[in-house]
Subunit: 348 residues, 2 copies
DNA sequence: CTGAAAGCGCTTACAG
DNA sequence: CTGAAAGCGCTTACAG
């Protein structure tokens, strides 16, 4: 894997010139005749001496750490980061944590070792993330994206998750729903889910209701079936607020399998606003985050900080309420009372 | 952005030792006392001298070039590549071409300049891609993923796109469909689409039919609406085979807007088998490619070639037919005859 | 435009 | 364990 790399001396010998001339060709600094240029380049290619078209030295890189690339929210942000990085002639290096704090730490360590110009990351939870504190210690220009509870002095780009989920829940309350279930990723793996749950609680408590316990789902990206029978038996919810679109689509499929139709029997909302949410039927009611733009913003911030042009700051991106077809008026009779469901529930 | 980096000499001065000792601490080679280790590390941190925990040198990298990260097919492959690369202590560097040959070339050039251990890429079309030939000239361990028509001696991982699309089309033919429309990305941006179209032709011609002209859509990833009115007016198809899942979901939404229901009025198939395709309603009938596994395979191949353990080879991954609910028997009366549609078509 | 030579940053046997 | 010194790969004023 490591062939003993040729040196400028080797190239000089083969090209019949001095190492100085080789160096001039390689760096692109200093005058070289076209003839000599060609001889040196040929010799370099023959010997496999690293000599790229323009700028043979590795470009500075920007490190990116996300939970998963297969969730379009993160892929969208990364796409934005890549676009912004490329505009500044930077490459991006990517690692995935798979929503796991141990992997998060090892990937962050590896990214730091690449000596990136800066780092952009979504960690499980900044309050507990070792990866996060390690990056802080490095005093590397860095910003989180999507995360909440990021300390001052560290960059951050996010929407107001709590307010956004409150908005969604209020929509359901105004449609008459009084038993609303929250389904999200495990809070220890996603501070976003935790904050969204708080927004749900805000809305429910504001009308004098009592929030239900959150249903936390283990997930990586392969969205499995979600077993909602227990929660439906216990609470008979007429609506489910789900903490992200991918999971919401799965929840809808699970409900359908339970014999419940959306939105007639149960209303469902998502969160993120991935492209597909707009095209599925029924169209998902959700909160849209400008993922790609948030990626661009985060990259710009980190690059500006790295260049000493700006202080790290917290940026709140605007979310929008994406009206869809997955919510409707609360049915008179809660879904849990439907025969399909209660029958199914008697079985172990 | 480029502060004049401190040298070993500076660190040595501050730590009160020789440059040799500094070098030993930095490289981790050679004996150093715990006391001295600490002094040098402190001095290095104070001066911002690059000195990471373990292995301060940049890890070798694997370059990855994909059309777009926001299409889950590519994100899935990249996730697999990242996983495999990490297992070998490599980082991955990523670039997107946005399905554009010019960007493809500039990104490829940038990736080559990073001196990667190897390169994995999906190009618009290997037969015409300058990026592809440039990588070939570099004699860098490399493999395409998803692409067809890759020359021998270059690695490749893909499913048999033509056979897979033939399989899908045959399914529709067996349901009685005789006017089937092919909708895909522009062939100049996607050799996959071109090959899939051939598979469609194979199936149609095998039953003595005449293939329709392909409808080629410009796309990046923000899947827009697809205007199918012209094609429906001209051919009155009872089925649409779409060259990827993302686009298929958009096509279904467009048909719905035209007042046509799937699969009652029109059958639709996708291609790729992205996670969401399994969960949307009606469940998409499609071909599933093992994207993540293909990413792992491609990464393994390139790493093996780089290590001299294997020759570049072409690997065909198995596709599976994913039965769904978006296809049904051909209706007696073609969809084009529906009143909604023909009326709309009279307007300019 | 080119090379000999000085120099820079880093590493590494060689002494002690 | 540590340093003085030699050395390596590369770059860059300095002559010509």
């Amino acid at each position: 894997m490591e062939r003993p790399t040729a040196t400028t001396r080797d190239v000089a010998a083969r090209a019949g010139c001095s190492t100085a001339t080789v160096s001039r060709v390689v760096t692109g600094h200093g005058p070289v005749s076209a003839e000599m240029q060609k001889r040196v380049v040929d010799a370099a290619l023959d010997l496999g001496f690293p000599l790229q078209q323009a700028g043979n030295r590795r470009r500075p890189v920007l490190g990116v750490l996300v939970p998963s690339l297969t969730n379009p929210v993160f892929a969208g942000a990364v796409a934005g980061i890549e676009q912004r990085a490329r505009a500044s002639e930077l490459s991006i290096i990517i690692g995935q944590s798979n929503y796991d704090t141990a992997q998060e730490l090892s990937v962050a360590t590896a990214l730091i070792a690449e000596r990136p110009v800066g780092l952009i990351m979504t960690v499980c939870d900044p309050l507990t993330s070792e990866a996060f504190t390690r990056v802080q210690r490095q005093e590397l220009p860095a910003a989180t994206i999507y995360n909440e509870d990021v300390p001052e002095g560290f960059g951050a780009v996010s929407v107001d998750n709590r307010a956004a989920m409150r908005r969604l829940t209020e929509e359901l309350l105004s449609l008459g729903h009084r038993s609303i279930l929250f389904v999200g990723g495990r809070f220890s793996s996603s501070d976003r889910a935790a904050h969204r749950y708080r927004g749900y609680c805000d809305a429910v408590e504001a009308v004098g209701g009592r929030p239900l316990q959150p249903m936390q789902v283990d997930f990586i990206d392969a969205v499995q079936d979600v077993d909602l029978t227990g929660a439906f038996a216990a609470h008979g919810p007429t609506a489910v607020v789900v903490s992200n679109d991918m999971l919401a689509v799965t929840v809808i499929a699970s409900l359908r399998r339970m014999g419940l139709s959306v939105p007639q029997d149960v209303s469902v909302t998502g969160f993120d606003g991935i492209d597909l949410a707009r095209h599925v039927f029924p169209r998902l009611t959700t909160i849209t985050q400008p993922s790609r733009a948030m990626g661009v913003l985060a990259a710009s911030l980190v690059l500006d900080v790295a260049a000493g042009r700006r202080r790290p700051q917290h940026i709140r991106a605007d979310f929008t309420f994406a009206s869809g077809e997955t919510i409707g008026p609360a049915p008179c009779r809660p879904a849990a009372a439907s025969s399909t469901f209660t029958t199914g529930n008697r079985n172990p």
